[in-house]
């Protein structure tokens, strides 16, 4: 998998928001990761840790007071350098398909799902002519398992699960190499969560050259489909690990990742003490130290991402294969 060039290569991505009064909020700091063809990378973390800001940066949707640094290469294109025209004409829908957080809010309330799909097909593909568009739209609905019988309904007439499939169908129309799913399962019940993420996984497996970056706080969803997991805390990626090891016997190495998993109701069901720090007032050293039971004087310095984990006192590696840089 690693021999092929990555679909998305993020190098040192940082996002700062300039607030009134010269105040700066460090939403994302120095993120490095790749997403390979056929791979699903799950970006997990508590709400407010910067996950969605990272997604907005990749789609050129940051507000005007945001400053970015670093690179995010999609093929030869640096997404952090691209202008709005490039995003509108070549990136959104064509190079990156977005599966949004709340499909009900993403769809236009006064138009049917068929109208959404036909417009998207006409905009993103070479298909022309009424009959051809109609057929292409129905084929697109079929790809996301959206029932053709419901195509003439408006968004408010759909259940949460069907609205999610409609949004997924739209994201797949442009056959984009990168699928970006931003909290695709928020508010769905367990069965629908499983079905939604399984469908996303299937689209990655079918294409072979397609990659999926799924942003989620739903650890069960991430465990179900991810190949690798990136854990974000206070704007930084603190662990980047193989999903099987992360969720399996070896377990995560960063104390924060351990805390997240231990909070699950089928594990210890114990919360991590305290609250995440404010992104506008991050401590000098490790941002997790204040909540960490392993913290020591060393944590006053910022730990670099070494191997798979950014921590001064990571949990032990259980397998020999684990890398120590």
């Amino acid at each position: 998998m690693t021999e092929r060039a990555p679909v998305l290569s993020v190098r040192g991505l940082s996002v700062r928001f300039l607030m009134p009064g010269g105040h700066r909020v460090a939403a994302v700091t120095d993120a490095h990761f790749d997403v390979a063809p056929g791979e699903c990378l799950a970006l997990i973390g508590e709400s407010g840790c910067g996950k969605s800001v990272l997604a907005s940066a990749l789609l050129g949707l940051l507000p005007g007071n945001a400053q970015t640094a670093g690179r995010a290469l999609l093929g030869d294109l640096d997404l952090l350098d691209a202008d709005e025209r490039t995003f509108a004409r070549t990136v959104r829908g064509r190079l990156i398909g977005l599966v949004p957080q709340s499909p009900a809010a993403h769809l236009t309330p006064v138009r049917t799902i068929r109208a959404h799909l036909e417009e998207t097909v006409a905009e993103l593909t070479e298909v022309r002519g009424r009959t051809a568009l109609r057929e292409a739209a129905e084929a697109a609905a079929g790809r996301a398992a959206f029932p053709v019988t419901h195509l003439d309904r408006h968004p408010h007439e759909l259940s949460g699960g069907l609205a999610q499939r409609a949004a997924t169908a739209l994201a797949l129309v442009g056959d984009a190499p990168l699928l970006l799913a931003d909290e695709p399962t928020t508010g769905l019940d367990r069965d629908l969560v499983d079905r939604t993420v399984d469908e996303l996984r299937r689209h990655v497996d079918q294409g072979g050259s397609r990659a999926l970056l799924m942003i989620t706080h739903d650890l069960a969803a991430a465990e179900r489909i991810a190949d690798r997991v990136a854990v974000m805390y206070a704007g930084r990626i603190v662990e980047l690990a193989d999903a099987a090891a992360f969720f399996g016997a070896a377990g995560p190495r960063h104390p924060y990742s351990r805390g997240l998993l231990d909070a699950l109701p089928d594990r210890a069901f114990a919360p991590i003490p305290g609250l995440p720090p404010e992104l506008g007032a991050l401590p000098e050293g490790c941002a997790f130290a204040a909540r960490c039971d392993r913290a020591s004087d060393a944590c006053a310095a910022l730990p670099p991402l070494r191997g798979t984990v950014a921590c001064h006192h990571p949990h032990a590696v259980l397998t020999e294969a684990a890398d120590r840089a």
């Binding site: 973390g45 709400s47 769905l188 019940d189 367990r190 650890l219 109701p265 919360p271 305290g274």
Partner: protein, 224 residues
């Protein structure tokens, strides 16, 4: 006891969301109600919280039937039930600071003078810092706002708690933290709990017993 007896409720008398549903919660007991989205479990939770008048059936609160609902309910009944909703953002007045949000039920019941002490006490319990208490809802995260909404539900020391998908929007750590706050409160006061949700693993772990929505609905009533 909190007893729902053959409740039929909905938003249109001709097509009720459900018919003839019964469920009871004993004092100190935690009951989980599990069902898929759109099944009517939130409507039942609203009935249990005196927020929705059922088309027929009886709600018995500590042995006495409820005859008046919402703002018409007598104060001592209304305040016997604390409610936490799924969407913290929709259930918080955007003009209030979190401290005022938590204190609002005390103000509304003429117990303003208790506010400062209770807010400080509850802020500690739910993990809100002094700095967060001075902010308004748009300045805090979903998890922080839900912590405030839980504190608001507890501020009048209700004998019953209704948590309608309290943690559906939250991450694992915040979920575990809020469930712990509810359980600490229940251990201290002996309050009963009706927790509505769709996460079986969570409800099984949290509650004394978990009830499937499907098992509450009489077979004849499911034809729609």
């Amino acid at each position: 006891m909190l007893e729902l007896r053959s409740i039929t409720a909905g938003y249109d008398r001709k097509v009720p969301v459900f018919r003839d549903v019964s469920l009871s919660v004993a004092p100190g007991q935690a009951v989980g109600l599990l069902g898929p989205s759109g099944c009517g479990k939130s409507t039942l939770a609203r009935v249990a919280a005196l927020l929705h008048r059922p088309d027929s059936g009886t709600l018995l609160l500590d042995g006495t039937p409820v005859r008046r609902w919402r703002h018409r309910a007598p104060r001592d009944r209304r305040t016997a039930v604390g409610v936490v909703f799924q969407q913290a953002r929709l259930s918080a007045d955007p003009r209030l600071t979190l401290a005022d949000l938590v204190a609002e039920p005390l103000r509304a019941t003429g117990r303003r003078e208790e506010a400062a002490g209770r807010v400080a006490e509850l802020a500690g319990a739910v993990g809100l810092t002094t700095d967060l208490l001075t902010r308004r809802p748009h300045e805090v995260s979903d998890g922080q706002l839900q912590r405030a909404c839980l504190a608001r539900a507890l501020v009048l020391r209700p004998r019953w708690l209704v948590c309608d998908e309290m943690t559906a929007m939250l991450d694992a750590s915040t979920t575990a933290a809020l469930v712990r706050v509810v359980e600490d409160y229940r251990a201290a006061t002996g309050a009963g709990l009706l927790a509505v949700g769709h996460d079986r693993v969570l409800l099984d772990r949290w509650c004394d017993r978990t009830v499937e929505w499907a098992s509450l609905v009489p077979p004849a009533a499911t034809t729609s």
